[in-house]
């Protein structure tokens, strides 16, 4: 029920709007991002949608329904990227949503509900250091303190205003009209490809917990200080990295998605001939089942105490930088999506999302769910990220059927 060529054309066109030396970079709040949005807006208009930027800086294309007051079905994703990556991450979902609107028009189908196609602002961690600005902003979930965050000489508040949002009314945003929300996204993991499935129906978006740990040792001369008189922060932190890895690997073998990664790691003074005095590292933990994360947090508290004692360093109590709960997909929509898969003949399975998504924020105020399409070798957030257009089109067809199904209720 959708036109695969049109999807490919739009995704390719957006891929062309990139920093030439850093494909496929189109970071939120940048001139390139606005150029990408101008393209999407033009395509929305060509599809007969009425466009606007909401208070949260989201680009929305609207098609009124036959029965005013029944509420809005919203479908979409985001068009911003991380640095150096993301040809499909977000874009596949935004364009698939747009294709639904085009297909409905081509077929002369009128929905009872209003339909909105959305391109959320800044889903990725942006230059302001935070993510999912648009989906949080649309639903009044931006912490007030975030608005004052700066990047260069701009505040987030100014950044939102510059893309056409309205920061002054942001905290009061609500979308009581939302009848349901759907998002298509590339899996960003290897499971669908490995199992030769077309569609993943996302049972839950894992909670993301970020834990900062500061290891403090003593800066000593690397040439002269006897090996047995050192308090080497890097040695202690290395032990912690290995312990986290093995604990996470064990946890991952039990039911429910679990992962923990040390992705940020910075040593001081970082000088060739000085014993490292300090390491600050950030653990990124993901859990589909909340009690898994609570077990992990308790384990970390003990692990750092043991390492501090073993290595003669000081480790402050782990700092919980952020801690979000897992978000289940709306059960009724999971069933709708399964029926849609069967209608279009897509091989599907239920699975958790280890990655965070705008859907998790919309799910706080309305029934919401998402589907995954396969991507090559599970790679994402890199230039090599790839998804086959036929797989994306299959996903768009599933969304098309699901939207029609939702419209009946």
């Amino acid at each position: 029920p959708v036109n695969a060529d049109r999807i490919a054309e739009d995704i390719d066109a957006l891929a062309g709007i990139t920093e030439p030396d850093h494909p496929w970079t189109r970071r939120a709040f940048s001139p390139l991002f606005l150029e990408g949005r101008a393209y999407i807006e033009a395509r929305m208009k060509a599809a007969g949608l009425e466009t606007r930027i909401d208070a949260g800086g989201n680009l929305i294309g609207r098609r009124a329904g036959a029965k005013p007051g029944l509420g809005t079905i919203m479908v979409g994703s985001h068009s911003d990227t991380v640095p150096d990556g993301g040809r499909f991450d977000g874009i596949a979902g935004t364009i698939s949503a747009l294709e639904i609107a085009r297909s409905l028009r081509d077929r002369g189908i009128e929905l009872d509900h209003d339909l909105e196609i959305v391109d959320f602002l800044a889903e990725e961690v942006s230059i302001f250091g935070v993510s999912c600005i648009g989906s949080r902003g649309m639903t009044g979930q931006i912490p007030e303190a975030w608005l004052g965050r700066t990047s260069g000489d701009r505040t987030l508040s100014q950044g939102i205003a510059e893309v056409g949002g309205n920061p002054s009314v942001l905290l009061a945003q609500k979308r009581p009209d939302l009848a349901g929300f759907l998002e298509l996204h590339i899996e960003q993991g290897p499971v669908l490809e490995a199992e030769n499935k077309d569609i993943g129906i996302v049972t839950a978006i894992a909670g993301i917990t970020r834990i900062e740990i500061t290891v403090e040792g003593r800066a000593d001369h690397a040439g002269t200080t006897p090996m047995d008189r050192r308090a080497d922060a890097l040695v202690a932190a290395s032990q912690l990295v290995l312990d986290i890895r093995s604990r996470a690997a064990d946890q991952a073998k039990t039911p429910g998605h679990f992962a923990a990664t040390v992705g940020e790691f910075r040593i001081e003074p970082n000088a060739a001939n000085v014993v490292p005095s300090k390491v600050v590292l950030l653990i990124d933990g993901r859990a589909e089942i909340r009690s898994d994360m609570e077990d992990f947090l308790a384990w970390i508290d003990n692990a750092v105490q043991k390492i501090a004692a073993d290595h003669g360093v000081t480790i402050k109590p782990p700092l919980r930088v952020s801690d979000n709960m897992p978000t289940p997909g709306a059960p009724v929509l999971l069933e709708t999506l399964e029926r849609a898969c069967d209608t279009v003949g897509a091989k599907h399975r239920r699975m958790a999302s280890g990655a965070g998504h705008d859907t998790a924020w919309i799910a706080k105020v309305a029934p919401a769910a998402m589907i995954f399409v396969p991507c090559k070798e599970g790679r994402s957030h890199c230039a090599e990220e790839w998804a086959e257009n036929d797989d994306i089109a299959m996903g768009a067809a599933v969304l098309f059927e699901a939207v029609r199904d939702m419209d009946k209720n």
Copy 2:
């Protein structure tokens, strides 16, 4: 035979010439460094020395001897510091050397040999990324390629010229007149303090070997990539850090000073939600006995292969960034220094230097040796670095006696 108060006065005066917010910073090639040198030069002149800057940018104060042609006895150290540290490192030796000249003059003692008091240029790793520029420069040991190294828009060659050196004749420098060289330095380690000794007579300056290792894994999404499908460069590098530590600790238990430290450690992309794809780390190895270093180098080659296999990462063959041999102190001078200790009643022991020093470069062209004085808790290269003035004065007295002894031969 020396005046402790004069030593204290000069060391305090130099401590006053520092970046106010970063005591005790006076980095080579900076305006503050030149200010420090102006102070030292004025004090050299006040001591009746004839001052000059040699081709290598070293500040030298000269006192002609009674018997021209007998050669030069040189004593000194350096006045530059690392960032944020070094109230005594180098300075104690430069000022002690100056005090010898003053004391000789006060007592009306004329030496047969010419005497030169030297403040070497840029002993510490400088803004040009290399160290011991002055002692190498004085003796024709600066690799030609170094002269083109840049810092900002200056080349090292320009930097040397700006402090008054002559880069155009640098590579041809020789000091065939040098009859002997002595340096006093703080220990920069905890041994003398722990053993309640006044003086360490340095049997050998450990060779310094720097080994760069690049661990390459795969950047994957930290949320979605199953724990058992990762090639995490940080996990592999952490194992390497622990293995190096335990190997170095074992090696240190055998005779001869040995240490190995990972002091520089950088991960990519260093993003919270990305599995680290790359770690570049630098090992700083020190060995008093060359075969210890050779054993260590062979061990490292094997260790990285095992880790690469265990963790599914790629590790290029370790890159030997620099590799200097251990430098023994001239045996005749070690005996001279021991006699001098006995003369002034200093409790002494022989020991290796784990740190590199200008003495190691001068030792390539002339008999050279050095002594250590205790420093607090072995701390150096930090604001807390401390040495008692009486300990420094005791060391200066030892040098005074040693110089008089050398002059007789």
